[in-house]
Amino acid sequence: MESNVIAKWETQMKKGTLDFIILLLLKKKDQYGYELLEQIKLASGYDISEGTIYPLLNRLKDDRFIESKWVEMETGMPRKYYSITNSGQTSLEKMTAFWATLSANLENLI
């Protein structure tokens, strides 16, 4: 019972922070889907199902936080590179400020 509650809480935490993590990673450099997925795993330790990243990226695109472009590769298989938009940058600054306040407050509690 308790483990169920914790699992739900962890899922909610992941859901709540994934957008933030993606924007932070894209702020560093433009990345294609698979690369971004690897970076998310590396940065957060989240074990996310690979396919679920695409609906998420699509939503961020619809919200105009990110944009994408296809880049032809020498291998013959093109990559779709995602980059953060100006609107995404502005939102990310607000998210970062909120996160800083939240983590400082929680740090005091813990």
Binding site: L18, Y34, T52, Y54, P55
Partner: protein, 193 residues
């Protein structure tokens, strides 16, 4: 792994067939974009970890049904709702009911609300076909709004205003329900991951 080896692999072909069956109701441009991105993902995953087999790469990506169904239905309905085209909305809801079990109940509910709305539209046609049996009938014990076969003890009170009133109700309900559907899609998108 080279591109041609992947494109000719049987597991890959079977997987992409499943992907196609999930997205075939989307516009051609979106279909091509999604297929291209999934292919690119599989290719990158195989090249990043050369010891991985195609079957393992496909397993890691997940069943297309699990990550595409909700996305596709939401995308289709979102487009339909933005046009306010009733045929596209109804078709989107039907796709949602058939292809997306988790939200089927919600889409059935919206379908019933639209059906209720269109009833007022049908009443306008009924008023033209059978004017004396369609309207707001009031008798000493009861009242009927709509079509009534027995009007012997009742009198109709709206007359020529019946059609504009029904049209107004139809449009008002249609707009309200469509805005509600739009809001529910925004929430569905937030839960996409």
């Amino acid at each position: 792994m080279n591109k041609d080896t992947l494109l000719n692999d049987q597991h890959y072909k079977a997987y992409m067939k499943k992907v196609h069956s999930m997205i075939n109701k989307l516009p051609k441009h979106d279909q091509a974009d999604i297929q291209r991105e999934i292919s690119s993902h599989i290719f990158e995953s195989l090249n990043n970890y050369p010891e991985t087999t195609i079957e393992q790469a496909l397993e890691n990506l997940g069943e297309p049904q699990t990550y595409l169904s909700e996305w596709v239905v939401t995308k289709k309905l979102e487009r339909a709702v933005s046009t306010y085209n009733p045929f596209r909305i109804i078709w989107g809801l039907i796709t949602g009911i058939i292809k997306h079990g988790a939200y089927a109940f919600k889409y059935i509910l919206f379908g019933l609300l639209y059906l209720f709305t269109f009833t007022f539209g049908f009443l306008c046609i009924a008023k033209i076909i059978a004017p004396s049996h369609t309207g707001l009938f009031i008798s000493s014990q009861s009242f009927v709004f709509g079509f009534s076969s027995d009007i012997s003890n009742a009198h109709e009170v709206l007359g020529a205003k019946f059609i504009p009133i029904c049209l107004f109700i139809t449009i008002l309900l249609y707009m309200v329900i469509t805005v509600l559907l739009k809001m529910s899609l925004v929430k569905a998108k937030e839960r996409l991951f």
